[in-house]
Amino acid sequence: MINNPLFLLYGVLLLGATGYLEYTGRSFDRINQQKVLPKSIRDNPGAYRSTYGGYSRYIGGK
């Protein structure tokens, strides 16, 4: 291990990043977060138009 100090550093940083990302619970998924929505959605779900409305193969978020 002493022969490759840079690798060890790289590995430790990688593990640290992995641990951090895991801890914060992030994922690669793209989520679109909206502001507050009117409570009427529950009663009339069809009235809500999300950004993903309508079929097209999921291209990706903004």
Binding site: T18, R26, Q34, V36, Y48, Y52
Partner: protein, 433 residues
């Protein structure tokens, strides 16, 4: 009490006149010198007898200047040696012609040493009194000595093409010897065979800077070109330790994975079956509410659909019943299979990073193709899940440094062996560096 008239107490270097041109020739090798070259007319003279006869006159066109001058003194292994002889040896094999230089180093109390130099690569050589034994390694010829195995590298017929200074044997321009080299970097075992006998010697690779330091020469040594037979690899030892480090890093990564698997509660907070009955069923609907524990942990929302060679597109909105905060996302679940294999999966999910605790419900809008049959699907929500993707990516990224080191080491060795007798055949004349 040894004072003898036969052996004078202080041995002086003899100086004689060249029988060809009259210039003075000093014998710095004392009585060891058997052949001496006149520094003026370059005739090879027989120094073994008092007559100092001419063995060979110089017919060549130009002088060669040795890179280390005759008379220079340098320190090797704690002892001072003086350069007293110089030879250029050349090899002609087919269209290839190349040459290297040899320097004879002398100390009246120690053995002779030799320096060889080829394209800026130096070796410090000593003659062996013990014999290596023939061996085989990896299907090729090798030599074994003192428990080490040296791999055969090349063999050639070398001729003395230029000589100045003194030598403890009879030397003439045009003398040939059959040379064989065996390597174990940084060492090289060489056998030189003339019809009388075989002489083995062991060389150690020295970089030019070390040679220049030993002789305290001005300026800098000639640049080393290409990779030499016994040049030590800069990756020596690094490949093995890189993979050992990789192993320990993976163990640590796995331990990290275990830790997080236990730290995350990974609790299911909602699961429900639904059926998509075609365009006739309602386009969008909402699920009952469910409780999500406190803290800003992640939330996984996913679906399992019994699709068979078909797809279902699910548009989601996760809505906080109290605050109205909404997360928008969508996922397609598609699964195809035929005689060639499968594509896709019956599962798909999304992980939302920081979801505050509270009461939530989902708004779901499913969609399938116009001819899709009635399909059952299941929606689930899990709180505080581990994300294994990161570990896979980290494992992959960890592979890069040892793989790179291994590649570089192999490339170095490949360049080394390209110069040997065992290089893969090249169609056109493999140009020497």
């Amino acid at each position: 009490m040894s004072c003898s008239l036969v052996s004078p107490p202080l041995v002086k270097a003899k100086s004689l006149s060249c029988p060809n041109c009259g210039a003075p020739v000093t014998l710095r090798g004392f009585a060891h010198t058997l052949s001496a070259v006149c520094p003026n007319c370059l005739s090879v003279l027989d120094a073994s007898s008092a007559e100092f006869q001419i063995l060979q006159t110089f017919q060549g066109k130009e002088r060669i200047q040795p890179k280390i001058p005759l008379g220079a003194r340098g320190t090797f292994n704690g002892a001072v040696y003086e350069v007293i002889g110089f030879q250029e040896r050349s090899v002609q094999s087919g269209d290839d012609f190349y040459s290297w230089d040899e320097y004879l180093l002398f100390n009246p109390y120690k053995r002779f040493r030799y320096l060889t130099e080829y394209l800026g690569h130096w070796n410090v050589v000593r003659v062996l009194s013990r014999l290596p034994e023939p061996a085989r390694a990896r299907g090729r010829a090798a030599a074994r000595m003192d428990g080490h195995t040296y791999a055969a590298f090349d063999s050639m017929k070398a001729a003395t093409s230029y000589v100045i200074g003194e030598f403890p044997w009879q030397v003439r321009r045009g003398d040939t010897a059959l040379c064989e080299d065996y390597i174990l970097p940084p060492y090289m075992l060489s056998a030189e065979q003339t019809d009388g006998e075989v002489t083995w010697s062991l060389g150690e690779y020295w970089p030019g800077s070390k040679i220049w330091q030993a002789f305290r020469l001005p300026g800098s040594p000639p640049d080393a070109q290409g990779i030499f037979a016994n040049q030590p690899s800069p990756y020596q030892g690094k490949v093995g330790s890189a993979w050992r480090t990789w192993l320990w890093l993976n163990v640590a990564l796995f331990a990290l994975l275990i830790v997080f698997t236990f730290l995350k509660s990974n609790r299911e907070v909602f699961r429900q079956d639904y059926v998509y009955a075609g365009k006739n069923s309602e386009a969008a609907f909402v699920t009952p509410t469910f409780e999500v524990s406190g803290g800003n942990k992640n939330l996984e929302v996913g679906a399992h659909a019994d699709v068979d060679n078909d797809w279902i597109y699910l548009d989601f909105a996760l809505i906080n019943d109290e605050t109205g905060q909404t997360f928008d996302f969508a996922r397609e679940v598609s699964y195809y299979h035929d005689s060639d294999g499968t594509e896709g999966s019956r599962n798909n999910s999304v992980v939302i990073p920081s979801v505050p605790g509270g009461r939530y419900y989902l708004r779901i809008e499913p969609e399938m193709g116009p001819t899709a049959p009635s399909t059952r699907y299941e929606i689930f929500v899990r709180r505080d899940v581990p994300i294994y993707n990161y570990f896979w990516i980290a494992a992959l990224l960890l592979l890069i440094p040892p793989a790179l080191t291994t590649y570089r080491s192999l490339a170095f060795e490949s360049r080394r062996w390209h110069e040997s007798d065992y290089a893969p055949a090249v169609s056109s004349g493999g140009g020497d560096d």
